[in-house]
């Protein structure tokens, strides 16, 4: 057999409570493989607060601090400070929150911690809605999507919040997006984040078959199509928000292929999908323009 393509040690075990094909769960396994056992987690209310198990059990063989919905970042700040006070400087603290807990209710505590540049990795697993409480819209839900609070007759009209730009505005040392379809890229980004001191923000696209009305086996495929359709660009922002690198080395795929596989977009007409495709294309071009612009500033 060839050498393993990722570390073989499992810090996340079987028996957990995630749905079939859960992307958030794959993401956690990858992140823990990248970080290794010297890691402590902070998890606010979200699916992951349930997935890991019922008291007094957990599928993760690491300390986890389960905390209130809006407090992932601030608890991570405190946990790190506490560890340092006790002389432990090597344990990595990772806050692990959903998009609701990040884009919406947790934004203030995340912004505070990032402004202080507190030393931890913040991972938002982005499944584009409040899944744990029954698929309500979040500010991460993409335009066009059905959720229980944006029914098909009144599907979500507002575009997804640009969380990356918000984080870039905080001048933190490292920001990246990732996708569960590219685990090695994600693990590399996690490991890279861990080399910086300060607040590191990684947002991983993590399909939710249950909330997206998607066949579970297509979970990874959707995570791939989101990237290749340019819906979810994979990027890294370094040098405190000043350097942007966008991954472009893929065969582009049509957005329709991505959207039509998911029940949450089923109500959209071809014309509406075409409209979304135009928007996505324009955003992509702006992103590339920004990448070029930042690269052209002398001294960077």
């Amino acid at each position: 057999m060839k050498p393993a393509t990722m570390p073989t040690e499992e810090l996340m075990g079987s028996g957990h409570l995630a749905c079939q094909g859960c992307g958030a769960t794959q993401a956690m396994r990858f992140a823990l493989k990248a970080l290794g056992p010297d890691t402590a987690l902070v998890i606010p209310a979200c699916c992951w607060a349930v997935i890991d198990g019922s008291f007094p059990h957990s599928c993760i063989d690491l300390p986890i601090y389960h905390t209130a919905f809006e407090t992932a970042a601030v608890v991570a700040s405190g946990l790190k400070a506490g560890l340092e006070m006790r002389g432990d400087t090597k344990t990595t603290v990772m806050a692990w929150a959903g998009d609701g807990g990040t884009f919406d209710i947790g934004l203030q505590s995340l912004s505070g911690a990032a402004e202080r540049n507190d030393d931890f990795i913040y991972v938002c697993y982005d499944n584009e809605a409040y899944m744990n409480t029954g698929i309500q819209r979040s500010s991460s839900t993409p335009v066009g999507a059905w959720t229980t609070t944006t029914p098909v007759t009144n599907y979500k009209r507002e575009p997804k919040k640009n969380m990356i730009d918000i984080m870039a505005a905080h001048s933190i040392p490292y920001i990246a997006t990732a996708s569960t379809a590219y685990p090695h890229d994600f693990m590399r980004k996690i490991a890279k984040a861990n080399t910086f001191r300060g607040t590191k923000y990684i947002q991983i696209f993590a399909p939710c078959p249950t909330g997206w009305k998607l066949a579970p086996e297509l979970s990874v495929k959707m995570a791939r199509l989101a990237v290749t359709s340019k819906m979810y660009p994979l990027l890294e922002i370094t040098d405190h928000g000043q350097k942007l690198e966008v991954w472009k080395d893929f065969e582009p795929t049509p957005i329709a292929e991505y959207m039509k596989a998911q029940g949450r977009f089923r109500h959209l007409s071809d014309a509406e999908i075409a409209g979304i495709e135009k928007d996505v294309e324009a955003k992509w071009e702006r992103l590339l323009a920004k990448e070029r612009m930042l690269a052209s500033i002398p001294g960077l």
Partner: protein, 559 residues
């Protein structure tokens, strides 16, 4: 921890709400409706190969740098990859899944690399000792006979190999020219086969003339006839007999034997098969201006495509839809030839459209040499009396080579008519296997064939489009100047580049995807395989979907 932690009293509880156990007690396998399971399938290349080489496997072994095992994998089905790697018409490649995506894997070139490695490492060939209580005679030292002898000897049965010629190889030796298959290479191949086990070679013996078939039947427990097609078919036209007109095979025999030949200033080769191509290119190399004349069109030519293209590149001219009508002689000396113009009519029994004469239309061509290469025939002297024949070919069972006489087997061109090296090898091996089954009394293994995968079963998201790695070669200009081998073979980098392109259709190649993507950590990665832990697999089927090569299948639970 398989047991759930339960607190009987509050005193047993930790002071803070703290985890004390894992979740392994929660057997989530009970959620599953559909079960994924590893189910390796047949790669279509293997189906395409007449001798069923396990192509997928040896390419995978190459990617793992396990060359010796890769070579052994071929040897299980073909004792001469250094030969087929040079001259095979590679139907495997026409069947290759990757061909439907970008370009087929250059299987033939990979096979040649391994074949050459085998010749450089004679130690790779295991030496078989005579252990069997039965012995066999093999008649004919071409690919069919060599293959049959090899597999019988490998199983421990002593073989006596009879060959009319002074040396072994059959068409490989006296037919195929050195620029395609150097004699030095062939010598090594033949030696490796003969040295591999208890094989006694008797050259210069023509069975049926020098020794009777019935005598062999008495002396040996089995006899295999791999006598090929040794005679050129005659053209049946006026003026054929006489100076300047020669059967292509006899010309090739001279060229390959190192005899000086003089194909004149202007040579005409009649025919459209491999013999015609080889004669034309040899004549060209001996300084002649050569035209191949064929009675159908290029599409119907039975020669290997590459050979036709090479001949054309080297400067051989072609005239199609013309059949020889009369050979012109001036005072006995060859002056030229008249052809009947033809056109394509209805398809014949071979499926090719039959050429029919266009009344009144003829063409006349100058020539000082004419080579006929319109087909070969078996020389059944002393053989047709002993075994049943049909259309001047030996009648034998396709799958086993068994003839009407229990102890007599046959295979190769003498049974099929002009075919190919690899088909002859396959026939020799299959006959050997049947003979061994008879010797040992063991029945054929009744294993069901696995399903064959196709392009629709491949998850092409995992493959970007790439070009086939062409085999390096000397330039055409230099090639046509002499008889040096044209194709020079891959180096290690090229070999790996091409091997890495293989999809490994239907067979796990340890890409890790299923293990990586399982959200339930229910796939165990062992030393040499993966295993699904059904206690925890929830049946999401992500593994099945993300396997690039369809090495997993699904089954509904409870069925």
């Amino acid at each position: 921890m398989i047991k759930k932690v339960e607190f009987k009293t509050y005193r047993e509880m930790p002071i803070r709400p703290m985890t004390v156990g894992d979740m392994l007690w929660n057997l989530t396998g009970s959620w599953r409706n559909v079960r994924p399971y590893y189910d390796f399938k047949r790669s279509p290349c293997i189906v395409g190969c007449p001798t069923s080489e396990n192509i997928q496997r040896y390419i995978q072994l190459v990617t793992e740098n396990r060359y010796e095992e890769a070579w052994r994998t071929i040897i299980d089905n073909n004792p001469m990859p250094a030969v087929t790697g040079r001259v095979c018409f590679h139907p495997c490649m026409s069947n290759c899944t990757r061909g439907e995506y970008d370009e087929p894997i250059n299987i033939n070139a990979i096979e040649r690399s391994l074949g050459d490695m085998g010749l450089e490492n004679p130690g790779w060939m295991a030496k078989a000792k005579a252990t069997g209580d039965k012995k066999a005679a093999v008649v004919g030292g071409g690919p069919a006979g060599l293959s049959c002898a090899f597999y019988l000897a490998r199983a421990g049965y002593p073989v006596t190999l009879f060959e009319t010629d002074g040396a072994l190889g059959g068409v490989l030796r006296w037919g195929i020219p050195e620029y395609r298959l150097p004699n030095g290479t062939l010598d090594k191949v033949v030696k490796a086969i003969i040295d591999s086990g208890p094989i006694t070679v008797k050259t210069g013996v023509k069975v049926g003339r020098d020794i009777g078939l019935d005598k062999l039947e008495k002396e040996f427990d089995a006899v295999f006839l791999g006598i090929g097609l040794a005679r050129s078919r005659s053209m049946d036209v006026d003026g054929e007999d006489g100076e300047g007109v020669e059967p292509g095979l006899s010309f090739l025999r001279k060229v390959n034997g190192g005899e000086k030949v003089d194909p004149g200033k202007k040579a005409i080769v009649i025919g459209g098969g491999n013999t015609a191509m080889d004669v034309a290119r040899c004549a060209l190399r001996s300084g002649s201006d050569v035209t191949v004349v064929y009675r159908r069109t290029v599409n119907e030519m039975p020669a290997i495509r590459e050979e036709i293209e090479e001949a054309e590149k080297e400067g051989v001219k072609f005239e199609f839809l013309a059949a020889p009508k009369e050979i012109l002689r001036k005072k006995g000396k060859l002056a030229g030839i008249v052809f009947q113009r033809m056109e394509l009519g209805q398809p014949d029994e071979s499926g090719r459209r039959k050429p029919v004469a266009v009344e009144g239309e003829t063409i006349r061509m100058e020539a000082d040499r004419i080579y006929s290469a319109i087909g070969e025939q078996a020389d059944l002297e002393g053989i047709s009396e002993a075994v049943e024949t049909e259309w001047n070919l030996i009648k034998a069972d396709e799958a086993t080579g068994q003839t009407g006489r229990k102890k007599v087997f046959a295979g190769g061109d003498a049974v099929t008519g002009a075919a190919s090296v690899v088909e002859a090898i396959a026939a020799g091996r299959k006959a050997a296997e049947k003979i061994i089954r008879i010797f040992t009394g063991r029945a054929e293994s009744g294993e069901a064939e696995p399903a064959t995968v196709g392009i629709d079963d491949i998850n092409t998201d995992y493959f970007s489009k790439t070009r086939q790695t062409k085999m390096p070669r000397i330039p055409v200009g230099r090639a046509r100047e002499g008889f040096g081998e044209i194709h020079t073979g891959y180096d290690a980098a090229l070999l790996h580049r091409e091997a890495d392109r293989c999809f490994s259709c239907g067979v796990c190649n340890y890409c890790d995807n299923c293990w990586v993507f399982c959200p339930d950590v229910a796939i165990m990665r062992h030393e040499n395989e993966y295993e699904i832990n059904y206690d925890y697999c929830k049946g999401c089927l992500v593994c099945v979907q993300e396997c690039p090569r369809n090495a997993l299948s699904t089954r509904e639970e409870g069925k």
